[in-house]
Structures are given as structure tokens and as C-alpha cells.
Symmetry: C2
């Protein structure tokens, strides 16, 4: 979305600006000494970096001075066949003079030299795609000046060495390895390992060798004229705009309509020029907690890369206050000015060069979820931003961190494999390899992690007993992932490198073997698996969180429901703010205890009478389930989906289990084997399931409808409100719904008569088959509500099996065919279009049609935003995602208002 | 379609007619003595039967006189709470008087009684849904008159008995069994078995008992007043319109908007009133050959049911000419009059009552395909109809009969099971259970039938070698069905009752066991399987067929291409009139001989280099395939689909075969087993296949593109024209196509350069994923043509796996959720809408976009009609369906013109 917006802006600007540029012919914009010709709004002309440098300069932040050559100039450079437009050189020289004045140094001067960096910077960030040259302006004379100025011979020669290497690489395409080879040979010859062990003379010799290598490879001498260096570097940056890497990047990221890259020429500053120099990184507030306290580190006589390299330990900022009180005071003032200007917590990089403070960068700081919430709420208290802005400031996805346990960040971790972050949270426990072990070990007080190649509905009990789940196969919407998220349980899915040996009860990955009973730990938010036991920290919800969610609730239009199958889940979800159940999956209820026996009896029965007999046993059990859920939901709407999965899911597929079942059911194992074989399907996703079961075996849906309505009547008789919504899955044709609705209404009439009471109810349908969306006008004649099942709609609409897509989805994301995994975030162009068609056609026939979504996407912020825009009434998601959806729904309202302005 | 049209007409008429009926209040329309108040166009008012009786009467056909009470009267009857509108009784009595006059007999008269039938008849035929009363007008006095009149006491009492039973059942809901019980008891008591063994006195006693039973069950005496009988019968027919059976029938068949049923009261005539009476059935032309010769049978002193019961053998018509020359002359005159009027071959029922000829029914006669073609062409010669009408007269589906062998109809057949008629034709041969046996037995000269639970691509060789294929699993578009149709080979698929035991090499069904080597015979047009060897008749195409097809070709706009993968298939298809190849599936080429080894090497390779090495071996083989096809197609366009199926289809799944492969490839069987396991998918239909393979392994598509274009260049160099169209399957996102098209164009540029020549070519895509149709505007930016893959589009759009749908599709057709199997005939409302969207969006961006269809639907007449209407350029179907498509395409043009009028 952002990309598109920028694209459009650029297109408009291109014409206007290009027209005017011919008249004014202003190629270069200066910034320095507190003034700048550009500002933050001129991104398309000055590039992102140039515009931001100008902005900082304008608001009085001490930024090393410099100038930006516009993106239009780049376009003209191409138009003119890689030549400079007339006047550009003069403007560059004039600006260089201003730069010299601003920095009090001279370009190419051997006494007081000014060195510069030359950097690319397009309107849209293209990280690592284009080129940079640092330390430009050095030659064999100037380096002497630098030695005198810095009183640091080693530094000067090292800078020179680096400059030749970068220039050679970037400007003249001399391969990196050529220079690396010289450096390595030198170190080998001297018997040293680190670059820092080289002394000034070594470096001086390397510079000599570099120059020779440069000449050997380019056929020309290394340029000593700083202006020649500058011109060649600028041209190299212009040229890098159209290097294959950059072109491919733009293709893959759908960046088009840009004119070219801007070029930023900026004075170099150095924090390693002695004990009155230094460098640091700081945050205007604490990025972990959000506390409004200046927070950072600095290092005396060092460059930024030294901080990163971790060779020396930086000092906290209060040490700086003691050492350099004046500079510290300046920094504190800058902190205030930046927060006032950007109205958000800033992440700042600074350098002190001989007591002079320079800001190299400021940007909105990364922060933890807790910090994000606190900062947003406190900025409102400070009247810096409004409530709407505060709502927009917190990334809904981040809230996951607040709702789940995390690992104590202070402990060492050994990551043995990375899978998909299928369900967030942190878990540690002993490895078990099947659901039964998980249940029995957990019953005896052990914390266990269930490790499976994949999970199936038979594993539900074990999944529930485990602290976390690790699977080798399956994607973000595989069975394991969906069920785990529903349970709010940590899950790492599809860790394909994990080789599980069920027989030996162990798994191995990358040379590590983990046996049953050994500890592993899972980070479901990162998808990482660690060897051994780790300490977890339980989440605590702050008052700020409650306040932010209250603002969100006051703002949003979309209702937020939950997907819950048990009274327990219902309670959890209500605590997280769920306003009803959008999806209660009845099949999960079928696996527990004795009920699975009755289910299997029903499946084995070969006539309606036999099925009805078995269903009669299930009726009271299922009725009790619904009574529990209705009671817990206290009159909020509860959408119950009738039986959906294919029947074979309820039968055991492994021989041992089949034998056990034969014993329990008192039939021969052949009977079971034959039934399993007869129910086998090539593509079960597209097979005999959903309402197709209801059409083939009407007695199943009739039993379920009876259980729902009898439960509702019973709960109502206790004086509670109930609002059941019966949902028929996998409808593709109106007539399916007609037939089934009639069956259900007959049952309901019967229940009302025998119970001598009535409850309000609705009968609606999932829209999860493309045909259903395409013929939603027909279906809405019968359906009283729609719930978009976007998991299946995505599977069928894209032709992607979510359990199998893992084998190619990686390549699809990498090649930019999808920006996001379409099972996590709705593919708005394709599946979204289908949804929009469905909503429009449905509402055309039934203007008050209640429409929601109950796929996994209901908890994805971008998808929630889409659901809002398309006019749905509610989204439904797993309990732990309810707060995310509430926040995202509020953001959708605010964004919509902003667009309208 | 027909239903809808009638529906609309009715809706319009309802208002107009209802309005006018209140003024004119004409409830009853008379027909008889050569005049009728109604005609064939008044179906909605008089019902189908009433309108047709009126029409026949008007054109001078001797029809037993009678009158029709309108459908509006039925509606008013309901409006008035089951009472007659004022004036109805008077009109009925007046018309009864006319009827008496016309028939020369009197209703309720004991000397010369008139008996009538009372029958329902709605505007749309609802066979068996509503009620009929015969022999109405009898009572204990009238029966005496009937005895005198017919001189047949037994006949009269039997008629009376039947009347009471029918009246009791239809009018008063006395259960059938009550009367049956009396009849059976009587027979038991007398020790006889057949009704005909009862004498008049027995029947008289039965009448007595019937009347008593009537009174016992209804509480009232059996009505003796003929007018009371008539009134009650009319009311019963009115009421039958809304009986649950009829209502359900209308719901399931989507018949709505009708006013009610008409009631036909017609004089009874009897063919069993002595030797001057009789009955017969005839066709105005020979229904088997189409020869223009009067053809039929008659029986003296008999009723229609006697002919049907087969107790006596009817005589041919020329015997009638001898016996009753006058009546025969009348009948010949009627034959001419009917053909002149209806302009088609008629199927006639007649009765002669005491030398007087009555026509009871005439309708367009059913005929064989050969007869249909001959009659249509000859009717044009006779200037009775035009060419367009002749084209419409032949059901395209019937042509199958002309193109495939059939069984000699004179032999006895024992059908042991019925499956799906998956690929037409007749085949007889020895049973084998695997592809290898099929090939080796066939090689030694045996005719074999391949019997498999299901087939897979590995079986292609064996399928090709077999005369016919029988599978226990899979639908009309299962692998076996699709491949067999492509080969023009007889196939019965999805015969679920067949239990195959591969180990014992036998199958059993319904108590019959068939061992390997025993003969069975298959009728692929009926889906029937027979035990033993049967004689087949090879088809011969007549000159009339050629003439009809020429007319069709002159008329149609749609081009007809074929799906063909070999030069042989291409040749067959061209002979059937194919104008290009719409789908050449490259994967079928991968299974033969050595190539499968190279394919497997490619699959086992774990890096690009290994894959490229294996592909290099395939390149020359595949190039040769294309050279053969391009040469055979003589410059007609050839659409080649790049690799589509998932890779696991090329690996053996049975252990023995895996071991063999391991030997051939010189790897351990574990390697193969592991590869098969790693390629296993839960829903392979939605998995790693189609262009997803091209994205993951670009080298595969590059090799294929190279083979196609090199072949094209080579064939061009021989002086032939070539027109390759490269088709990328399973595209869902424009960017997939962008990336792959670029790869292919790079290869093509390379080939053109090295071959120093160029050929015209196109690069396009299948539209078979719903998303592709929904975003066709985007995709058309890149694609140069679209080919709708309606098999997959149907699977994904409906969420039906064609291999699995068998388990519920039967119920769906039975319950009327689908009128036709959506895999055989496009689901126009759902999938059709998706196609229409795709066509519109595609053409919006690229107005000259070439669009076709290459799914199985390309050979289905209704689907061809749809493709015409939606504006496609061509359809493509299996070779043997090309003539069907040509005829259907011509019919589409004519129907479109008719609509515009």
C-alpha cells in the first residue's frame, strides 16, 4: 500500500518537477550550519536520506554538512547518455565551497583536509542495493594532512586504504577479492590475525600495493585529484541505479515510476580523533520498558563500527554527563528537540569530533511491545499526540509479546533449528513423540514438548497436555498451527530439517540428536528451537495496555469474536475482550473420552438406522458441551459450525491403533481397515466433508442441530440469554443450504414444541468455496449470515493446499510473487476480490446480512483492515489474537478517516 | 434452459390471463370432431397434454374427443379454498354434452354409455407425479350397458373393477393394497394365478367386495352418479398438484411459476372390443436406420397394455394393410399429415375401436444416431426443413455412437456391474490386472481389458495396449477416463462394487468372480460390464454424416481443436476435422522407454546442475516428439503445455517397482523411498505442480521451451509451416507468468540466434485457478492467449476433487443440487461466471486475446454452446469428440440467431 501511494505521488511529481527543472536547473540542494534547502516532504526529489538530512538540519540538529544531487539529475544523466547536464559541475563546486565553509576545512587540502562520503538514496528505501564511497578526498598529500590533523598515523593510512578499496570496487569494478588478498597476504607474512594488529607502516605498504593492484586491473592510475574522485563516484552512484541487482530489486518489490537515485555528498566526521572525540547510540526513551528516560551508550575515541564490533565495552550515558557535561547537555537538548519534532521515541547515532557533536542519524526507535504501549499512552498524556495517533503507534502484531510467556533474555540459548513461528510464546519441556505419552507424562507432572512429523485431530489431547508443539511438516495454517493458536499454545511448525525417528524415540537435526525425555525449548514467536531447558517469563498486562485497548474499543466499528470450542477457551477469549464466538468447531468435541467411540460407531454403521443409534449416544454429550459454552458466553452470539472434516479423520490410521479400536468396538480389524481404505481420498481437502456429509447423512446435522437448540433452551430456562447461530460449512450451491436448512428448521420446530419454549436463532453459512462467493446473491436468499472461511477460500482460490504449500511458498515469497504468506495475510488482490464480490452480492439480496470472517486471517492486522474496508460486521480469531484484532480494527477506522481527508 | 424459458413465459401469461379470465371466465376448452378451441401454443393454459390433444384434433387427426379444464381454473380452485369457481360446473356439463354428441354415446347411459378418463397435465411434464382415473362413468346400471355394447361381459366387469380401485386410490386415498388383497384372496380361493383366469362372475364378486371395502375405508358408499364421480376425480387431480411428491418434484427440478395443473377429460376408447378393434404403435420412418418407410406393429382385439405385456406377439403393419385396408389407408394418410405438420419422424400410438381409428398420441420418435443423421439430411432433401433445422435435429452427444465400435445388438449379454460411461465404445478381451501384463499380452496378439482399482500415469503404456479399461474407483474425469477418451478407447470407470484382488489376480462382483485371462466386455457408452466375449461392430461413417458436418462447419464460428500428445493422435484428430491442437500434454511423453529414466534422474538430483544434466538427455527426445507433432499438424496451431503434474507421479510407489528403479538408477532403494516420501502431498491437486515447478526449477521449463522452439525451427527448415503456442499451466499470479515468460523468451532468443532462423510463436497461460480468472486483467498484460482449464477450474471453484467426488456426487445429482455432473458439463452459474469474468477482464486489457478451452468440457455440447456465447475463439477436446464439438458449435450459432429474432 505504501509503495503504491509513493508511486502515484512520484508519477504526478515527475511531470511537474521535470518541467520546472529545465527552467530553474537546480540540481543540488545544500544542508548545513542549521539551514537546508530541502525538507522531509521532498523525498521524491532528494531521496529518503537526502530529505531527512535536510529536515534534521533545518530543525537545528547539528548534522555534518553536505548537499544532495537530485533524482531528476540522475534521470537527466541517463537521458544525456551518462553525461552531466550543463551547470551541474558548477553547482557542485559552489556547494562544495559552502560545505568547506560550514565544516571549516578544505577539500583536497594537505593541512586541514575535508573528506566526504558519497551515498545513493532513492525515494524508496532499497537497502544494500546501491553504492557508497567513504573517506573521499584522500591522496598521498592529503593523507599527510590527515595525519597531522588527527595526530593518528594509523587511522589516516587505514582510512586511505579503505578509500582505495571502496573506490576501486564501487567505481571501477575491481573485485573485492583483489584487495582482500593483498590484506590477507600481508597479515600472513607478518603472522598476525586481526587488522588492528597492523601498524601504520604495514598499512602504508598496503596502500602502495592497493594502488598498484588498482592500476593493474583498471589500466589507469588511481586518481589523485579529489574532484576527479568525486565526479567518478557520483557517476558510479548514478550508474548503480540501473545495475541488474537494483533493477531486479525494483521488479520484485514492484517499485516503479521513480526517476532515479539522488546522490548525497556529506562531510566525514570521525569519533576516533583522540580523547575529545567519541561516538554513541541512544534512545530518547527506554526501548525495553518505554520509560521516559534518556537511554544510551557511548565510547570515547572510537568510530561507530567499533561499537558494533564489540571490541571495547561502551559506557552508559551518565558517564558522558560526567566526562563531557557540555556535550551531554547539547545531546539532552537535541533529544527534546527531536521528540518535539518527530513526536515519537527516536533512535539516534552521534559522533563527537574534537568536542563538536554531530548527529549522524535519527529515526523512530525500535521497541518492545511493552515499550510501544507505554510510550504511546504517555505521549498522549504529554499531549504530544492524540489518542488516534497513539492507537496507530502500536503494531498490533507486537501485542503477541505481551500475551504470551517469553524467555528470559539474559540466558544463553543454543538454537538447533528454525521452523515457522506458528503460534507465539515460549515453552520448555521434555520431548515426547506421541500424544499418549504427552498426556501421561503431563498427568504425572512433567512439562512436555510434543514433537511430531505432523499432527492430526487424534493428537488433540496430547497437544493440550503439552507446553509446546514442534512439527517437521506443515505450514502456518497446518493442523498443528491452527489448533495451537486456538489453545494459545506455543508451536513451531514445519521445521523440515528435523528428522524424527518414531521407533527410536528421538529426533536429529544438524548433527544434534535429542532423545525422548531430554529438554528442548521453543520460541513460537520466532520459530526457533533451542537445546536444553530455558527460563520463561510470564506476561503481565499493564494499565497502559488496558487504556490503549479502551481507546481502540471506542474507536473501532468491527466487532471482534473468537474461535473457541470449549467453555475454557470461551472464558479466556472473553477476558481478552471477545464479543462472541465466531467459530465453534464441533468436531474437536468428538475426540474426547467415550465420544470418539460413538463417533466411530456412527462411521462404521452401514445404514441410517445404525448411524442414528450411534448419534443418539452423542446427542446428550454434545448438548452438554453447548450448555457449557452458552453459559460461559452469557448471551453473546455463538456461531456453531456443524461437522466439517472428512470422516476418516476420526478413524485410526496406524495398525496398532486400529487393533485397539477393533477390540473396543468388538469388530474385526479388517472391518476397520476396510472402512479406512474406503474413506481414503486423493485430495481430502476437496472431498467428502462439510455440508456434503450433511447431504449424504442428514441425521448427523439433525443431531447437531438438536443438541444446539436443546442446549439453548435449557440454558434459557436457567434465566440466561442465548444466541445460537447455526453455521453450515462448505456450501457451494444454494440448494445444499436449502435442503439442510429445511432439515434443521424441522428439528428446531420439534425441539421448541417439546421444550415448550423458543430461543432466537439464525441459520447461515460459511463462504469458503469460490463458487459460494461467486453466487453469494443466490446463497443469501437462504443464508441469514455469512462467515468467510478464508483458510479454505485461500486454498481453493489460489489452488494451494496449506499443508503442502511449504515446498514452494518459500520460493514464492523470495521471488516476490507474494509479499506475504497468503495463509497469514489475505491475498487482497485475488482472494480479497472474491470476498468483496461475496459481500456485495450478498448484501444486494439481503441488505442487513451479517457478515464476518472466521479464518486464521481474522487475527492478522492487514486482513482485519481489509475486513473493515469491505464492510464486514465482525472478525473472529483465536482467543490470544483478540486484542490484536481489536487494535487493528481501531487502526482501520483511523486510516479510513485519514484517507477521506 | 428450457425450464427457465417456460417459467418466464408463464409469469408473463399469469397476469394477463388471470386478468382476462375473470371477465371471460372460460374454464374449459373442447377438442373433438376435427375442431379444437386450443392449440399447441397454449401449453401454459392447457398443459402440455391438453395443448397437444387440441393441436392433433385441429389438424384433422382422429383423436378421442374430450375437453381440458385450464391451469387457471386449478389456481382459482386453490384461491377459493378447494372449491369450483362459479360457472365451471355449467361449462363442464355443456362440454360433456358436446363430447357425448361427438362420440355418439351418453355419459351414465345404460344403453350406450360414454366412459371417460380424467388426467392431469401441467405445462411442464412431471412424469408419474400426478394422478389419473380411467373408465369413469361406470355404475351397476351402466356396466350392463357396457356389456351389451361390447358384447363382452368379462371386459365390462374388469373395467368396472379397475375403475373402483383407481377411484378409491386416487380420489379417496384408499390404499392400493386393500384392493390387491381382495383380488389375491379371490385368486387363491379359486386356485388360479393370472388375472385373466378370472371369469365374469368372479369379477362381479370382486366388484361387490371392492365397493364394500371402499365403504369400510371411506365411510361412504361408492358414488354411483357419474357426475359425482367426475367432480370428485377433477378435484383429486387439482389436489394432486400440491401433494408432497409433486411439490418435491418441482423443488428438485426447479419448476416454479406455474399456475397449477390442467385436467383432461377424454372419451375412453377400447381396442379390445372384438375382431374389428385393435391397437398399435408405429414410427413414420425406420428409427434404427432412418429409412423413409412406415414402420410399426399392431395387435387385433387388444389394449395398449397387452402389447407392452408381451403376452401376444404383435403383427407387422403390412399385415394390417391386408386385414383392414381402409383403416391402414387412413393411417398412412395420417402418417403423411403428421410428418407434414411436425416436420419430423413421429412415434404414434393408435387404437381401433369397432373399425374406427383413434390416435392416442403422437410425438417426435426416438432414433439411433445413424437414423437421426439420415432423417435430418433427407428432410432437407424433401424440403421439409432447412439446413439449420437439420443441424439442430441431431443430438451431438449421439454422434459418439457413430464414431466408436458397438456391440452387435442381436447377441445375449450378461451385465455383471454398471460403472460410469467414462469413454464410449465397445470392447471385449481377456482380463489383466496390471499395465505390464497388458503390454506383454497385447504384444503376443491377445485382446486385453485392463482392470485396475484406479490408473496412474505409470499405466499409460498398458492402457494404450488394452482394448478397454475398467476401474473400480474414479469419476468421469479421473485419470483413466481422461486418458481413455484421449485415446478414443473404451472405458468404464468407478465401478465401485468391483472388488479387485491384485494378489490373486481376480476380481469379484455380485457373486461373480473373474480371473485373469477370462473374457469380459465393456460398453463404455452405457458404463456396462458383461461377462464373456461379445461380438463388436466397427463404425462406418455415411455420406449423410459428411454432408451434415459440412453444413455444421459452414455455420459455426468457434474453431475446434483437439487434445493430442502424439503424432498418431494428431492425425486421428485431423481426420475428424480438428483445426489445431489446443492441448498437448508434455508429461505423457515422459513415461515411455528410456525417457522415464532421465526424468527420474532429474527428480533424484539434489541440485540444479544434476537436474540440468538429466534434462540434457531429455532435450533431444522431447524435440523429436515435437517435430513429429508439428509435421503432422501441417502449420495448424499447436498449444504445448509445459510440465504440469507433481513430480511424484513419475516415481514408482510400489515396493517392487522401487527396487527395480533402484537397480536401474544404481542407487539404494532407501534413496527412492525417501524421495517418494518427501514428495508426498496431502492434497496433490493443490500442491507443487504446474508452473510452481517452473518457478522452483526453472531449468525444466527452459529445457521444454528449447525443445519446442528447436523442433519448430527444424520443421520450418524442411519447408513446412509451424505455429507453436507455449502454454504455462496453473498460473494464479501475474508475476509467475512474468518470471517464466522471461526465462522462456531468453531461451527462444538463444535458439533463434543459434539456428539462424525464426518462427512465429506465442506464450500464454492456462486459466484454471480461480484467482487467475479473477485477476485475468492483470494476467492478460503478460499472456498472449488464455486457455481455460475447466477441469481444474471446476475442481477448485467448486472445491470438488474429481477423483473423490464419486462418494457424494451421486446424491447431489439425485437431490437435484446439480442437473448434470459438473465435470462433464460446465456448471454455468458458478464456474461459468468465473469464465465469463476471465474472458471479460482479459479482453478489456487485450481486446484481441485468443481464448479457448481445453478441459474435458470442450467436447460437451452444452459447454460448447456456453463457450460460443461467452465469446471464446475455440474449444479443444479429445480427438473422438471433435465432430461432436463441430456440430454443437454450429447449433450454438443457430440458437443464438433464433434468440435474437
Amino acid at each position: 500500500m505504501a509503495t503504491t501511494a509513493i508511486k502515484k505521488k512520484n508519477k504526478t511529481k515527475t511531470k511537474g518537477a521535470a518541467g520546472s527543472s529545465k527552467k530553474s536547473a537546480k540540481y543540488v540542494y545544500f544542508f548545513g550550519s542549521g539551514k537546508a534547502e530541502g525538507n522531509a516532504k521532498m523525498k521524491s526529489l532528494l531521496g529518503g536520506k537526502g530529505a531527512n538530512l535536510a529536515e534534521m538540519t533545518s530543525i537545528g540538529i547539528p548534522v555534518p554538512a553536505g548537499f544532495t544531487i537530485t533524482t531528476e539529475t540522475c534521470a537527466q544523466f541517463y537521458e544525456l547518455g551518462s553525461r552531466w547536464p550543463q551547470g551541474l559541475e558548477a553547482q557542485i563546486r559552489a556547494n562544495m565551497a559552502k560545505l568547506e565553509k560550514s565544516m571549516g576545512a578544505k577539500f583536497g587540502d594537505r593541512d586541514n583536509p575535508l573528506l566526504v562520503s558519497v551515498r545513493s538514496g532513492a525515494a524508496v528505501s532499497m537497502p544494500g542495493m546501491m553504492d557508497t564511497v567513504l573517506n573521499l578526498g584522500l591522496n598521498s598529500e592529503v593523507v599527510q594532512g590527515l595525519i597531522i590533523k588527527t595526530e593518528n598515523e594509523r587511522f589516516a593510512w587505514d582510512a586511505y586504504r579503505r578509500f582505495i578499496q571502496m573506490f576501486g570496487d564501487v567505481v571501477m569494478n575491481v573485485e573485492h577479492e583483489v584487495f582482500e588478498h593483498i590484506l590477507e597476504s600481508k597479515k600472513e607474512q607478518l603472522g598476525v590475525k586481526l587488522d588492528t594488529e597492523l601498524d601504520p607502516n604495514d598499512l602504508k605498504d598496503i596502500v602502495r600495493q592497493y594502488k598498484k593492484a588498482y592500476q593493474d586491473h583498471t589500466g589507469e592510475e588511481f586518481p589523485s585529484d579529489p574532484y576527479e574522485q568525486l565526479k567518478k563516484s557520483i557517476n558510479a552512484v548514478f550508474a548503480s541505479w540501473n545495475n541488474p541487482r537494483a533493477k531486479k530489486y525494483r521488479l520484485l518489490n514492484e517499485i516503479s515510476g521513480l526517476m532515479g537515485t539522488a546522490v548525497n555528498v556529506q562531510a566525514m566526521v570521525y569519533g576516533n580523533m583522540g580523547n575529545t572525540s567519541g561516538t554513541g547510540v541512544c534512545f530518547t526513551r527506554n526501548p525495553s520498558t518505554g520509560e521516559n528516560k534518556f537511554y544510551g551508550e557511548f565510547l570515547v575515541n572510537a568510530q561507530g563500527e567499533d561499537v558494533v564490533a564489540g571490541i571495547r565495552t561502551p559506557e552508559p550515558l551518565d558517564q558522558m554527563q560526567k566526562k563531557w557535561p557540555d556535550i551531554y547537555k547539547q545531546l539532552v537538548a537535541i533529544r527534546a528537540r527531536l521528540e518535539n519534532h518527530y513526536k515519537d521515541m527516536q533512535d539516534i547515532e552521534f559522533t563527537v569530533q574534537e568536542k563538536k557533536l554531530y548527529l549522524l542519524q535519527t529515526r523512530n526507535g525500535k521497541r518492545t511491545a511493552a515499550a510501544a504501549v507505554r510510550i504511546a499512552v504517555e505521549l498522549v498524556k504529554e499531549k504530544r499526540i492524540g489518542q488516534n495517533e497513539a492507537i496507530l503507534r502500536v503494531d498490533p502484531k507486537q501485542l503477541d509479546q505481551l500475551l504470551h510467556p517469553t524467555f528470559n533474555p539474559k540466558q544463553a540459548k543454543k538454537c538447533i533449528v528454525k521452523g515457522l513461528p506458528a503460534s507465539p510464546g515460549a515453552a520448555t519441556g521434555k520431548v515426547v513423540f506421541n500424544a499418549e505419552d504427552a498426556e501421561s507424562w503431563a498427568a504425572s507432572g512433567e512439562s512436555v514438548i510434543l514433537v511430531r512429523i505432523e499432527t492430526s485431530p487424534e493428537d488433540i489431547g496430547g497437544m493440550n497436555a503439552a507446553k509446546g508443539i514442534l512439527t517437521a511438516r506443515g505450514g502456518m495454517t497446518s493442523h498443528a498451527a491452527v489448533v495451537a493458536r486456538g489453545m494459545g499454545k506455543c508451536c513451531v511448525a514445519g521445521a523440515g530439517e528435523v528428522k524424527i525417528d518414531y521407533k527410536a524415540k528421538q529426533f536429529s537435526v544438524g548433527g544434534v540428536t535429542v532423545k525422548q525425555g531430554e529438554f528442548i525449548s521453543l520460541d513460537g514467536s520466532l520459530g526457533e528451537v533451542y537445546q536444553g531447558q530455558l527460563e520463561t517469563i510470564e506476561p503481565e498486562l499493564s494499565g497502559d495496555f488496558a487504556k490503549l485497548m479502551k481507546w481502540a474499543d471506542q474507536t473501532r466499528r468491527l466487532k471482534v469474536r473468537t474461535n473457541a470450542d470449549t467453555p475454557h477457551d470461551s472464558l479466556v477469549a472473553r477476558k481478552f475482550g471477545a464479543e462472541g464466538i465466531g467459530l465453534c468447531r464441533t468436531e474437536h468435541m468428538f475426540f474426547e473420552g467415550d465420544r470418539i467411540i460413538a463417533v466411530r460407531e456412527m462411521i462404521l454403521a452401514d445404514n441410517q438406522e445404525g448411524r442414528e443409534k450411534a448419534l443418539a449416544k452423542l446427542l446428550p454429550i454434545q448438548r452438554k458441551d453447548f450448555e457449557g459454552i452458552f453459559t460461559e458466553m452469557k448471551g453473546l452470539p455463538v456461531t456453531v459450525r456443524l461437522l466439517d472434516p472428512p470422516l476418516h479423520e476420526f478413524l485410526p490410521h496406524e495398525e496398532q491403533n486400529q487393533k485397539e479400536m477393533a477390540g473396543v468396538m468388538n469388530v474385526s480389524v479388517d472391518v476397520i481397515r476396510h472402512k479406512v481404505a474406503s474413506l481414503h481420498e486423493f485430495n481430502p481437502m476437496l472431498g467428502h466433508r462439510g455440508c456434503r456429509l450433511g447431504i449424504s447423512f442428514p441425521e448427523i446435522y439433525k443431531m447437531q442441530a438438536r443438541a444446539i437448540i436443546e442446549a439453548a433452551c435449557n440454558v434459557k430456562k436457567k434465566g440466561l440469554k442465548v444466541l445460537p447461530e447455526i453455521m453450515i460449512p462448505l456450501v457451494g450451491m444454494k440448494k445444499e443450504l436449502d435442503l439442510l436448512k429445511q432439515d434443521i428448521e424441522d428439528v428446531i420446530a420439534d425441539v421448541f414444541e417439546s421444550k415448550k419454549t423458543k430461543v432466537p436463532y439464525m441459520i447461515g453459512t460459511m463462504i469458503e468455496i469460490p463458487r459460494a462467493a461467486l453466487t453469494a446473491d443466490k446463497i443469501a436468499e437462504t443464508a441469514q449470515f455469512f462467515s468467510f472461511g478464508t483458510n479454505d477460500l485461500t486454498q481453493m482460490g489460489l489452488g494451494f493446499s496449506r499443508d503442502d504449500a511449504g515446498s514452494f511458498l518459500g520460493a514464492y515469497l523470495e521471488k516476490g510473487i507474494f509479499e506475504k504468506d497468503p495463509f497469514q495475510s489475505i491475498d487482497q488482490e485475488g482472494i480479497g476480490y472474491l470476498i468483496q464480490l461475496g459481500v456485495e452480492k450478498g448484501r444486494k439480496v439481503r441488505p442487513d446480512l451479517k457478515i464476518g470472517i472466521c479464518g486464521e486471517h481474522g487475527g492478522d492486522p492487514a486482513s482485519v483492515n481489509f475486513c473493515h474496508n469491505v464492510g464486514m460486521n465482525y472478525v473472529s480469531c483465536s482467543p490470544y489474537r483478540v486484542p490484536i484484532a481489536r487494535l487493528a480494527a481501531a487502526q482501520a477506522v483511523i486510516r479510513e478517516k485519514q484517507k477521506k481527508k
